[in-house]
Symmetry: C2
Subunit: 226 residues, 2 copies
């Protein structure tokens, strides 16, 4: 029945905790809705620049609220989100350009690993407050997802190539061309039309648009206190 | 059983279409959840200034997306939202200071009318693209909600008083004091704690926080195409 499955593309960057929420929700609902989820690793910095948008955290009260909001969403959706000690450094000083090139390289050479790799990167910065910019960090990530040292070296080398740089740029541009001004950004292909959704909080509308049903977090842990 | 009802305060301004969505959802769920909804008409301009925040529509792509998003939400929640011809003029040139003073005056003298009055004002600007700044418009609104000409004149006069101006300021300040950076802004009083929510898209989390269940739009019309 694969032919009748609707394609849902998720543009994301591991710098973005809301992207993580959108990613986990779609990974869960892929088994419930009649959809194919296509992971599209992009570069959020490029989207923000292209859209002349600013991160919401630049407004101090919004930043304070986001901490609470992310904590609640993490509990509700059973995603082990935890604020890094210094989110501004993680997001704006260190950034994720190398990390997203690493994801892109993996997505080209071993696309079956894109999901676990992305999750491991999110676990590092948005759960355990670990680095994702140093070569040793990429090695650690590769090991964590079961790659051999040789495979890891090959992917890390490939992630520095022009092909990978161009591929990441092109995915980022594709998001912009479809109206993105931030991540997560979803393109659902419904009746030969593209329906775009911004954020991780339009899943009930996405379900409706796909002719499916929103069933909440799909996890028993969402009963925990938020 | 009224004593055990949890208080949910909704801070809103009729300038904000997302506030309208939050308002209608809470007005519906008030009959389903064990809550008391307290309507808190405020002035969004004052909140944005106090929070040093900018309306999302200032980023052109976000503005384009919001039009689509509001259309979808309107259909899904069965709220007759329609973009005015010139939203920037409605929101930023004409504004809603007088209108929100009118709502505040009503909320002081005839609080049982606050809900229908607010809805009628939203219907005017966010559904039928009608003025809500001229004296004739306030008269028309008053008539639409069943007030006599005398009652209308009394409310319109009272809305110009210092008492009303101060009351609107104080409600706006209360939202700011609780961390608001935009509307709708919700304060749920749960176990002697204030839980705050921004936006109309955290209702499932609000339900969870209240120990209630999110049941979707509670309207049969949400089957329509979005």
């Amino acid at each position: 029945m694969s032919a009748s499955k609707k394609l849902v593309e998720l543009f994301y960057d591991v710098v973005s905790p809301y992207s993580w929420i959108g990613f986990e929700i779609l990974c869960r609902y892929r088994n419930v809705w009649n959809i194919d989820v296509r992971l599209r690793p992009g570069f959020l910095g490029g989207v923000m620049q292209g859209a002349e948008n600013k991160p919401p955290g630049f407004v101090p009260r919004k930043f304070e609220y986001m901490k609470k909001d992310l904590h609640r969403l993490g509990c509700y959706f059973n995603i082990p989100l935890a604020q890094p000690q210094n989110p501004a450094e993680v997001m704006f000083v260190k950034g994720t350009l190398q990390a997203m090139r690493f994801v892109t390289a993996t997505n080209i050479l071993q696309p079956e690993l894109t999901e676990v790799l992305s999750r491991e990167l999110w676990m590092r910065i948005w759960s355990r407050d670990e680095d994702i910019t140093e070569p040793a960090s990429f090695q650690a990530v590769a090991t964590a997802i079961g790659l051999s040292k040789d495979q890891a070296i090959k992917l890390i080398e490939f992630s520095k190539s022009q092909e990978v740089k161009d591929s990441l740029k092109s995915t980022t541009q594709e998001a912009l061309d479809n109206g993105a001004f931030g991540f997560p950004f979803i393109i659902a292909h419904v009746n030969s039309k593209k329906e775009v959704f911004f954020g991780s909080d339009r899943m009930e509308l996405l379900a409706h648009c796909l002719g499916e049903k929103w069933l909440g977090p799909l996890t028993s842990n969402s009963k925990s206190k938020i």
